[in-house]
């Protein structure tokens, strides 16, 4: 290949970004319709204190399982979700320190030399490329933003969660500050000119090379072209007006004791993001650990902060309260499924609910409570894996990635899809 390979993008489109960066006189632009298949979405939720194991896991496995106490509220959607037992992240131990590994499965988070790895959401969008205004959104409830997140970069940097619904709302629906937009476009234009130079230089570079080398360099040309495509897409989103919404801007709840209200609001924000197609991948860490004494419901206050409550030490009073807390979360999930279903989104939206802790009382990180709804899997069953053999939760992640349209046969400790789940 001696010909520069950058001519695939039409000249006018290729110069498009540069034009934007300089002038900002924006023609209203029709987005290219790139998709014909239904849009696949994914919401990944983790409560870092989990739920009590015995009322969560059904006793029988398979399709005919009797709903466990916690799953009873979800029975309207029985055929639209699967509950899993016996899954965990191999070699991910260290109590609460595992919370940042829920979507990364990075081993031994407290050992010397630990560095987190790329999370499922970031990995998916890296493979899929951006086709919405926000590649992903990362949300939190009561979250300690500096130290906790479900979303991590490849080199182990924490991507901070957003815990203010009002900020999310304006990100999604309120037209931004023109100066900021200009700066973002300038950055895109900069990168575009950089890729241009790299491509041109590479064409010259390969002249000195042999035939086999030239074949090898084709990959580089393709990569430049694909990155340019991504820039273009990002640029189009910058100039495209934000969608309008009937929804009223939400008021932030500042009182951390109103845990369930905050949780519900964040689920609604995720729905709003999906409905407006602002993004298709949302993560949500429910930070029970950072939740102080909170309202359990009916005027009742938790006996301790959520963390101490979770170390119930077999206290009857604490267990009774935890059951209430867990059930309220199940009710939130149920309502969430209902709303997604009403807006015809549930089939193509995978909703994963789980935790990095199998039993918070003893800091156990095996047999994690995992529930997955939507996404056109064959649902309606309790898939019980042998917990002793540590079936990797990341196998389920591989199954989910494939449903999302990512060509992946492994992810982190997941070396294949989850057996028996399709």
């Amino acid at each position: 290949m001696n010909v520069p390979r950058l001519s695939i993008l039409p000249h006018s489109r290729k110069r498009f970004l540069r034009g934007l960066g300089a002038a900002l006189a924006l023609p209203s632009l029709e987005l290219f319709s790139r998709e014909t298949t239904p849009k696949k979405r994914m919401l990944l939720v983790s409560n870092n204190l989990g739920v009590l194991p015995w009322p969560f896991f059904p006793k029988e496995s398979g399709r005919d399982y009797t709903p466990s106490p916690y799953l009873k509220p979800l029975q309207d959607f029985r055929d639209q979700f699967t509950v899993f037992s016996g899954l965990s992240h191999p070699a991910v131990s260290g109590g609460h320190s595992t919370e940042n590994c829920f979507l990364t499965a990075a081993k031994d988070p407290t050992g010397s030399g630990f560095r987190n790895t790329i999370s499922l959401d970031q990995y998916a969008i890296e493979k899929l490329g951006q086709s919405t205004r926000f590649p992903t959104l990362n949300l939190g409830v009561n979250i300690d933003k500096a130290n906790r997140s479900l979303s991590w970069t490849r080199d182990g940097s924490l991507l901070p969660a957003e815990d203010k619904p009002s900020t999310l709302f304006s990100k999604m629906f309120v037209q931004g500050n023109a100066r900021e937009k200009e700066q973002r476009l300038l950055k895109l234009a900069n990168r575009e000119s950089l890729l241009d130079a790299l491509g041109e230089d590479l064409s010259r570079f390969q002249i000195q090379l042999g035939k086999r080398d030239k074949e090898k360099l084709d990959q580089y040309f393709t990569s430049i072209r694909e990155l340019e495509g991504q820039l273009l897409s990002a640029g189009e989103w910058e100039v495209k007006p934000k969608p309008s919404t009937q929804s009223v801007p939400p008021a932030d709840i500042l009182d951390r004791a109103k845990f369930f209200e905050k949780f519900e609001l964040m689920l609604r924000m995720a729905e709003l993001a999906f409905e407006s197609d602002s993004t298709r991948i949302v993560t949500l860490m429910v930070d029970g650990f950072a939740t102080p004494v909170f309202e359990v419901g009916g005027g009742e206050k938790s006996l301790n902060g959520y963390h101490n409550l979770s170390h119930h030490g077999q206290s009857k009073a604490k267990i009774a309260q935890l059951e209430k807390v867990d059930l309220r979360q199940m009710a939130l999930l149920r309502d969430h499924f209902q709303r997604l279903s009403d807006s015809k989104l549930l089939d193509d939206t995978m909703v994963l609910y789980g935790s990095n802790l199998g039993d918070a009382n003893v800091h156990n990180c095996t047999n994690l409570p995992i529930l997955l709804a939507g996404g056109r899997f064959q649902h309606g069953q309790h898939l019980a894996y042998n917990g002793n053999r540590n079936t990797p939760l990341a196998n389920l992640f591989v199954s989910m990635l494939q449903k999302l349209g990512v060509e992946a046969d492994r992810f982190s400790s997941g070396e294949g899809t989850l057996d028996g789940f399709a």
Binding site: N100, D201, E215, S223
Partner: protein, 850 residues
């Protein structure tokens, strides 16, 4: 090493060029007669169909296939003994000879036309090391911004597998930007320096930590102080400053723990100087301190001050220091990211462990007769970030030469600007200097223009000089000039210099090597030999030791599995042991090369490297301190030679059980150079029985009753059986452990947990090699393996050639390898000799294309 005539390799080459590139008819007839019974389109034994073979060897695929046929027949493995009637030694010779010449000719022709292998992009480790050296940033940490490189049998430096993708390119751009930002001065003036001194209760985040009083307390005059806060109130400011209290710690730094000084958080990333006074102590009953019997190793762990739970990276930093029974002041430098703090990490001490049997608490093991080992710290000072000797720092000057600093102009994305009277002239000048430094060779004028055009365009549009240049640099660091390594062409130029330095330093050639690679110089013969020796002697050679053992021996998998807490409770959280194992293998391999030891030291040697922990692990006489020291091994020790080092025995086990199959296959592939065929997918792998009812040997005996299984297993199982005397961590055992059956052993693990396991069946380590030689145990096996040094040397060359060139030893390379072996034979195949000879051969030097 025998001196080699200058045209030695040419002799191997010349006469054969006359032959054809097709498998001769007579050879095909032999194949038809003796191979097709099993390898036709119907039976396809071993998935090999020779019924309509492609005999045109110009095609790489056909060549590979015939090379496989050649090898199996040549070794006498095919046709299987007793299977092919009428296939005698005469037939074997004819078949092998008939195949060899066309194979050689066609492969040679391909090499001459297209080169030995394609250009290779840098691995992520190379990308990082390269920028560390070029930008003068020894602590640069960017490898994890790049996706993991694909690997084959542990190797990541394989040209054919080093792809470029969109993710890779985005990673390069990101990593290059990070590196450049770090190289740039942080401001017109250096960053302000933080300085703190900690004494008394400020030495520790809390007054206690997990594990209770036994794990940590404050002491005054060797006695625990129940209420240190009250005591502090009674002290004068001077008494406090000097440190009237000591923080005494008896546990390891693992979760949950927050043993960091109170109130410190690095405002900026960088190096920090730490000074502290401490000593090694023993805790005896009633929480009293007495001097320790032995030194106690300490290090630090950088981490976020996120309470007892860990968030983000955890990094050991500051090195290992041995505290002594007498108080002593220590100095070290630690590396912190902005926002991080650092915790005390005492190596090899117990780990408190959660108990839920009566409430919820963290337990500490019972006190051993000599007391709990630990450390007492009296005061600690931290100061940083350490200022570079000059400002702006040297890394900045790589980017902007001597242009004076100024505050960043409006609109700049960087914390500093530079003053220039002639921005356009300066930017072109600086860019050209940067490009020739980074590219390892002269960049063609046309290529330079591509970048300077972009830079000048931005300057003219009013962008600040720093921004435009950094942008241009970023692009250049991702360009082909930097990220690709080209195949040398036998002319001793920069491509050769680069191949050599990327082999031995994992990075770019330095000024001297560059100079020798200039046209008019001659990087060959004596000069080349001197350069190899110089690079090996340099401290950057450690990168070779680490990367080559990491890939070849798969040492990077050392921490893949942790020992099963039920069967091997004594190793719970023993990171100190695992780290020591790794250091042993690095030190040993380094000595093999630097000391030019015979290749047989891979399997047998009279020495190794140990510290206190490893000496204990190997049942050797006690050693003091954490440093690795060379020790002579007593005759009875089974631990001489790389093969039986704890690191190898650990990485070839899975933490719970050992498998003679896996260990045997490892030895065949890594040490003897015989890659066994992949296991058939239809036969499930043997699951060792961890109850203790049966041994892996009897399980395998059953498995190999089937002839088709036995054929392969007899190649590797016996070697593996000899290694069964070593447990999952490489400790000697005569009997297997199990969970249910045998003699009960009980005790307390390092976390204070009671344990019970059973010792049962005896290990049966004897066996018989393929060639019929028998051995009774590992000691005898080592002698047998060491008696064929040529085989060990040949494998070493193959592994090294792949690592060094990114391409496997090709058919046409084989005579070269044989000639290197001949050359090194008289001196007993010494490792540095092999390295030198390979580098001086056409496999490494490349050939002139025709």
């Amino acid at each position: 090493m025998k001196p080699l005539p200058a045209n030695a390799f040419l002799c191997l080459v010349a006469p054969v060029m006359l032959g054809g590139q097709v498998v001769p008819r007579e050879t095909l007839a032999l194949v038809e007669q003796h191979c097709l019974d099993c390898h036709d389109e119907d039976v396809r034994k071993g998935d090999l169909d020779l019924s309509i073979p492609d005999s045109k060897l110009a095609d790489g695929k056909a060549r590979d296939l015939w090379a496989k046929v050649f090898d199996r027949v040549d070794k006498g493995e095919m046709p299987p003994p007793g299977k092919a009637k009428g296939f005698g030694e005469g037939e074997r010779k004819r078949l092998v000879q008939g195949l060899w010449e066309p194979l050689w000719v066609s492969d040679r022709k391909d090499v001459l036309e297209n080169g030995r292998g394609p250009v290779r992009r840098l691995t992520r480790e190379e990308f990082e090391d390269n920028l560390r050296d070029l930008l003068l940033l020894p602590n640069l940490d960017i490898r994890d911004k790049l996706p993991a490189d694909r690997e084959s049998h542990g190797f990541t430096k394989i040209s054919g597998m080093l792809d470029v993708s969109r993710v890779q390119l985005a990673g390069w751009l990101d990593a290059a930007e990070t590196a450049l930002r770090e190289a740039l001065a942080t401001g017109v003036e250096p960053l302000p320096v933080q300085k703190m001194r900690f004494t008394g209760t400020d030495l520790f985040q809390g007054l206690t930590t997990f594990g209770g009083r036994e794990a940590m307390f404050f002491a005054r005059e060797n006695v625990m102080v129940p209420d240190p806060t009250e005591v502090l109130k009674t002290l004068s400011p001077e008494e406090r400053r000097v440190g009237a209290l000591e923080a005494a710690i008896f546990r390891s730094a693992t979760w949950p723990y927050f043993g960091y000084p109170r109130g410190f958080r690095a405002k900026y990333g960088g190096e920090y100087k730490v000074r502290f006074e401490a000593r090694a102590v023993r805790q005896v009953p009633d929480f009293r301190l007495v001097p320790a019997y032995e030194p106690q190793a300490i290090s630090f762990r950088a981490r976020q001050p996120s309470g007892p739970d860990v968030s983000g990276d955890v990094r050991e930093t500051g090195g290992w220091m041995d505290l002594l029974p007498e108080p002593k002041v220590f100095n070290t430098t630690i590396l912190l990211k902005a926002g991080e703090t650092f915790e005390y990490s005492l190596l090899g001490l117990p780990v408190p462990f959660i108990r839920t049997d009566s409430g919820f608490y963290y337990d500490f093991p019972p006190m051993p007769p000599e007391g709990h080992r630990g450390a007492a710290i009296r005061w600690l000072e931290i100061e940083g970030p350490v200022r570079p000797e000059s400002w702006p720092p040297p890394s900045h000057k790589v980017l902007f030469g001597d242009l004076p600093l100024c505050p960043p102009p409006k609109g700049s994305q960087f914390p500093v600007g530079v003053v220039s009277k002639d921005p356009e002239g300066d930017s072109v000048r600086l860019f050209k200097a940067f490009a020739s430094r980074m590219a390892r060779e002269d960049v063609p004028e046309g290529s330079l223009e591509v970048f300077t055009k972009m830079i000048l365009g931005k300057l003219q549009a009013g962008e600040p000089l720093v921004d435009t240049l950094v942008h241009g640099y970023q692009a250049f660091l991702c360009s082909g000039h930097v990220v690709y390594l080209k195949e040398p062409r036998g002319d001793g130029g920069m491509d050769l210099a680069s191949r050599l330095s990327f082999l031995l330093w994992n990075s770019t050639p330095d000024a001297q090597l560059r100079k020798l690679a200039q046209p008019g110089e001659s990087l060959k013969g004596e000069t080349l030999a001197r350069e190899i020796a110089r690079l090996v002697a340099d401290e950057k050679f450690e990168r070779f030791v680490q990367n080559f053992t990491g890939q070849w021996l798969e040492l990077k998998q050392l921490r893949r599995d942790t020992p099963d807490g039920r069967l091997y409770p004594e190793y719970r959280k023993d990171d100190y042991l695992v780290d020591s194992m790794e250091k042993e293998t690095h030190a040993f391999f380094s000595e093999m090369v630097r000391g030019n030891l015979p290749v047989t030291t891979l399997v047998d040697a009279g020495f190794t490297y140990v510290n206190d922990r490893l000496a204990r692990h190997y049942d050797l006489p006690r050693k003091e301190g954490s440093g690795m020291r060379k020790v002579k091994l007593p005759g009875w020790s089974p631990y001489g030679g790389l093969l039986t080092q704890a690191s190898i025995l650990k990485l070839t086990a899975n933490g719970t059980t050992t498998s003679p199959v896996l260990r045997g296959v490892w030895v065949m592939e890594k040490i003897l150079g015989e890659l066994p065929p992949a296991p058939p997918t239809t036969v499930p792998a043997i699951e060792p029985d961890i109850r203790g009812a049966t041994t892996i040997r009897s399980q395998l005996a059953k498995h190999t009753e089937v002839e088709s299984c036995a054929n392969c297993h007899k190649r590797f199982d016996p070697v593996g059986f000899a290694l069964e005397n070593f447990d999952v961590m490489g400790s000697w055992r005569d009997r297997y452990r199990g969970l249910d059956l045998g003699e009960k052993i009980t005790g307390y693990d390092p976390a204070g947990h009671p344990y019970a396991y059973f010792v049962g069946h005896a290990v049966e380590p004897s066996g018989k090699l393929m060639d019929g030689r028998e051995f009774k145990d590992i000691r005898e096996l080592k002698k047998l393996l060491a008696s064929n040094p040529r085989k060990l040397a040949k494998n070493f060359l193959h592994q090294l050639a792949l690592y060094a060139t990114g391409t496997r030893v090709r058919i046409s390379d084989r005579p070269v390898i044989e000639s290197i072996l001949d050359q090194c034979e008289p001196d007993g195949y010494r490792v540095a000799d092999l390295l030198h000879a390979l580098v001086q051969s056409p496999v490494f030097l490349g050939v002139q294309p025709q």
